[in-house]
């Protein structure tokens, strides 16, 4: 086996040092009653055969052009981003517990925290969460820790999967959610926020693509003594839109995989979690801080470990330890590459492409579900017979939007997405097929 290097001579010498004659003796502490009675029935494969098999599985997925976002928007990955991230010193290292030989990871995460803070307009960002959904669930628990009221008001227009994960996390607790419905313009109705909620949780742009008025939501939340938890599934939007922090958000959570991370069938992504600095001791997950070493050199370490599970055990603010460090690195490389101006321009192009697609679909008989501002996703009501057409479009290589099954109140409604990856040629070819 090519990953194991002991020769028969090595084995003999090692067993002699240990004082055994057969390797099996080392397992004498495992009682007969709990031993398996057969060998592992998986046939080992050569690299050649393995590659063929995996290529066949990969080929069994349709190679189509998607016009679906829904928490995983298609974005271009610049060549140097995965190239740098896959350097083995980053990829094959562990959590940076030994700062002297982990300054690469530590500085990269410090820079990720800094750029994420800038992106979201927040004072503190952590080293990442698993994904957008778990970031949202942890943000809700964090808000409850801060405000100590047992309920969270949650916009119905948040990503349905994220709300499902939130209810999984809340299931064993006494905490509850209160749903905030939609206004006719596709924004969240914050007119009836109850008084016993720790936070109002609103996604922007929301699941139906509408840019929420976070400033007004913040006012409604704060008037009730609640925090505004702003969530997002499309980090690219903050290249163009006013960031949540500047509109009064207290905690911001979301998915950052638009920055250099491919779809990967939905994972792994990278959860982003940020807050105002007053709440830093309540934030879950790892934090990297700047300090000096004993020679006065600037250096970076994991800090505020007193919040974390390996020190606090059952009193920790969360159980998270491994997070999405390598994808945080990837997202950081992307943000550094784009920079202030680049991110603004690529975000503007996203909006341009989406507006072009929307106008084209409207010409083909679709009607906008809302008269509301959008970024790169929008919901439309389809003309009669579109559901049958959609199957045909798939055969022609187009995934024509997402049917909004999770929102039965919007009949025949579909969610579309266009980004910088969709050239005008592709958009026109698609529109021609739809028309």
């Amino acid at each position: 086996m090519r990953y194991l290097s002991h020769t028969p001579d090595d084995l003999r010498e090692m067993m002699e040092v240990i004082g055994i004659e057969r390797v099996e003796e080392l397992f004498d502490s495992i009682p007969q009653g709990v031993r398996r009675d057969s060998e592992i029935a998986i046939e080992p494969e050569s690299e050649w055969r393995l590659l063929r098999e995996f290529e066949a599985m990969a080929a069994a997925n349709c190679p189509v052009t998607t016009f679906i976002g829904a928490g995983s928007c298609a974005h271009h990955v610049p060549a140097h981003v995965p190239y740098l991230a896959s350097r083995s010193e980053f990829l094959t290292s562990y959590t940076p517990y030994q700062p002297e030989i982990s300054q690469g990871t530590l500085q990269a995460i410090f820079e990720f925290q800094t750029m994420t803070g800038s992106l979201l307009g927040m004072e503190v960002a952590n080293a990442s969460m698993y994904d957008g959904a778990s970031a949202l669930a942890e943000a809700a628990l964090m808000a409850i820790r801060v405000k100590k009221k047992p309920k969270i008001a949650v916009s119905r227009l948040s990503h349905p999967h994220y709300l499902q994960v939130l209810s999984t996390y809340l299931r064993p607790t006494a905490f509850e959610t209160v749903e905030l419905g939609a206004l006719p313009d596709g924004r969240t109705d914050c007119g009836k926020v109850p008084g016993d909620v720790s936070a109002v949780l609103v996604q922007s742009p929301n699941f139906l693509g509408v840019v929420e008025d976070l400033g007004a939501v913040a006012e409604a939340a704060h008037a009730r003594g609640a925090l505004l938890v702003a969530s997002f599934t499309e980090a690219m939007a903050w290249g163009l839109l006013k960031n949540p922090g500047s509109q009064g958000a207290d905690i911001v959570c979301g998915e950052g995989s638009s920055f250099g991370i491919p779809h990967n069938f939905g994972g792994p992504g990278v959860g982003m979690l940020a807050c105002r600095k007053d709440f830093v001791r309540a934030i879950p997950g790892r934090l990297v801080g700047q300090t000096v070493d004993r020679n006065g050199e600037r250096s970076f370490v994991l800090t505020l470990a007193a919040r974390e599970q390996h020190i606090r055990r059952e009193k920790a603010v969360s159980n998270i330890c491994t997070n999405s460090g390598h994808n945080a690195l990837t997202a950081a490389i992307y943000m550094a590459t784009a920079g202030r101006e680049g991110l603004r321009r690529i975000a503007q192009i996203n909006h341009d492409k989406a507006a072009y697609l929307k106008a084209g679909l409207e010409k083909a008989g679709f009607r906008p579900l809302f008269n509301a501002p959008f970024f790169n996703e929008f919901a439309l009501t389809a003309p009669a017979g579109f559901e049958q057409r959609r199957a045909k479009l798939l055969e022609k290589g187009f995934a024509a939007g997402l049917k909004l099954d999770a929102f039965p109140e919007y009949k025949d409604a579909y969610l579309f997405c266009a980004t910088e990856v969709h050239t005008r040629d592709v958009l026109d070819a698609f529109l021609k097929e739809v028309a």
């Binding site: 709990v34 990829l91 562990y94 002297e100 410090f110 460090g325």
Partner: protein, 488 residues
């Protein structure tokens, strides 16, 4: 010193990103503006994030230099106890990057994702074959989320049976995440006395198990590397009182081909694929923490589940007792692809993996016995735990030994964990270290013990060859600087 890898040569300083920034630079290639510009309402548009402005070359230099300040498994021996830092095969990365996987959108019609679902189904089958369990879910994103999934299932099980319980048995040899995961389900941990051999006894369990206790969280082999040989009887006691057994699979690398998890009486176990199944740790994730369960817990598994129907695969959420969804989509798929590449490459030779991992740990243990104190001399499996009881008398601590080891060119072992050992040095070499690497590592630790006896300052005044030395962690926590300034 010549025989140790050590460090020599150029080490570049590297500024923070924004210290390299020059106004007007963009490192991103922007696509042609082939559609008309569409203006958003000016009231919605912000000033743009305050990000550094760099060329592509700046970015490449920056991260390349940062990488040289890191140390990975590809760089050298990385014997972190409890972390299973084995070699990460490169073919795994290659297949995970196949465009048919990497570019697959998660919300596609089921006809379009047959390859992905077949892969997930195959990995579930392999995990069940390796562990002997009944059903699986690949959704959890990490070991700790797998633990949470397991505890949520145990909580849902008790709720379904009509009476919730309030406590959970938690040995001191449990991972730190275990009590935190249990706390998320509202269970308070109940400690249990360990025997002199460092394991739990049926008598001790009988004393604490009652009908208000939801079950037990067991790591086997435990964090001392010792097999809990009474596990089947312990599980029986738990089950008789209506409780369930949670197994922390962090140490599965010690058991493949030998132990049957179901026969141990475990009801739910999480598998750290970034440990046992060789997926890269990535400097702190992403990993994956699938759970495998006995039949009694299958109805509670997260949804959606992958279902095979003839030659066709579907996703099903039709499970009224399920704990619900745990992931934005279906789990860390790209990590799971790597895990399947590993189980398929090794197959039945996973048993050899376990044997060589245990052999290597015992070889290191034999080489260091007498030189460092071994608080639990009992037979151990894939890791061995020493401490600084001898060196402390010479004015040298575990931390000093760890830092000195860096100068010899080795990543230190896990230190000060598990908590049941004072000043622990927890060594897990894994199966992929060669005899020569292990010999070098053992000799380095022996040399350090010699230095500690002869001239402690040689050990305490370290590390010498690194970019930074002993950063002030107290200062970092007291004067929090969690983000940099971004002057433009």
């Amino acid at each position: 010193m010549d025989r140790y890898p050590g460090t020599r040569g150029l080490a570049f300083r590297e500024a923070l990103l924004w210290e390299r920034s020059r106004k007007g630079r963009i490192g991103l290639s922007l696509p042609e503006q082939d559609v008309p510009r569409s203006e958003l309402d000016a009231g919605l548009v912000g000033d743009g994030p305050d990000l550094p402005e760099l060329s592509e070359v700046d970015v490449v230099r920056h991260y390349t230099r940062l990488s040289t300040w890191n140390c990975g498994v590809d760089t050298g021996t990385y014997p972190l106890g409890s972390c299973t830092m084995k070699y990460n095969p490169k073919i795994n990365d290659r297949v995970a990057g196949l465009p048919g996987f990497a570019n697959l959108h998660p919300m596609m019609p089921v006809e379009c994702i047959q390859g992905a679902l077949s892969l997930m189904y195959a990995l579930e089958r392999d995990l069940l074959e390796i562990t002997g369990m009944h059903a699986a879910s690949l959704q959890p994103s990490a070991g700790a989320q797998g633990e949470l999934a397991g505890m949520l299932m145990i909580h849902a099980y008790h709720a379904h049976r009509g009476r919730q319980r309030r406590k959970i048995i938690m040995p001191a040899t449990a991972h730190g995440t275990n009590p935190a995961s249990a706390a998320l389900c509202g269970y308070s941990p109940v400690p249990v006395q360990l025997s002199q051999d460092g394991i739990m006894t049926p008598e001790a369990i009988r004393e604490v198990m009652d009908e208000d206790t939801a079950g037990i969280m067991i790591t086997n082999p435990n964090t001392l590397g010792i097999f809990e040989s009474h596990i089947a009887e312990i599980a029986k006691i738990i089950h008789e009182k209506g409780g369930l057994v949670y197994g922390d699979g962090a140490n599965l690398n010690a058991l493949m081909g030998y132990a049957d998890v179901e026969k141990m009486g475990i009801d739910v176990l999480h598998v750290n694929v970034h440990k046992t199944l060789s997926t890269p740790h990535g400097g702190g994730g992403p990993g994956a923490g699938p759970v495998v369960v006995r039949d009694v817990l299958e109805p509670f598994l997260p949804v959606p589940r992958v279902v095979k129907d003839g030659d066709r695969y579907t996703l099903s959420s039709d499970a009224p007792l399920s704990i619900g969804r745990l992931h934005s989509f279906f789990g860390n798929f790209a990590v799971l692809v790597r895990a399947l590449a590993y189980t398929r490459t090794l197959g039945k030779h996973l048993k050899d993996v376990t044997e060589m991992a245990v052999l290597n740990a015992n070889y290191v243990k034999a080489g260091l016995k007498g030189v460092y104190n071994l608080p639990f001399p009992q037979p151990s499996l894939h890791e061995c735990i020493f401490n600084d009881a001898i060196q402390r008398k010479q004015g040298v601590t575990t931390l000093d030994v760890a830092k000195r080891l860096i100068d010899f060119g080795y990543h230190p072992p896990t230190v000060y964990f598990p908590l049941v050992v004072d000043g622990a040095l927890m060594i897990e070499p894994t199966e992929t270290e060669s005899k020569a690497d292990l010999d070098g590592f053992v000799e380095a630790l022996r040399a350090i013990a010699g230095e500690a006896a002869a001239n402690p300052a040689m050990v305490t005044d370290t590390p010498k060859n690194t970019a930074v030395a002993r950063p002030d962690e107290v200062l970092a926590a007291r004067h929090l600087i969690l983000r940099g300034e971004t002057p433009q």
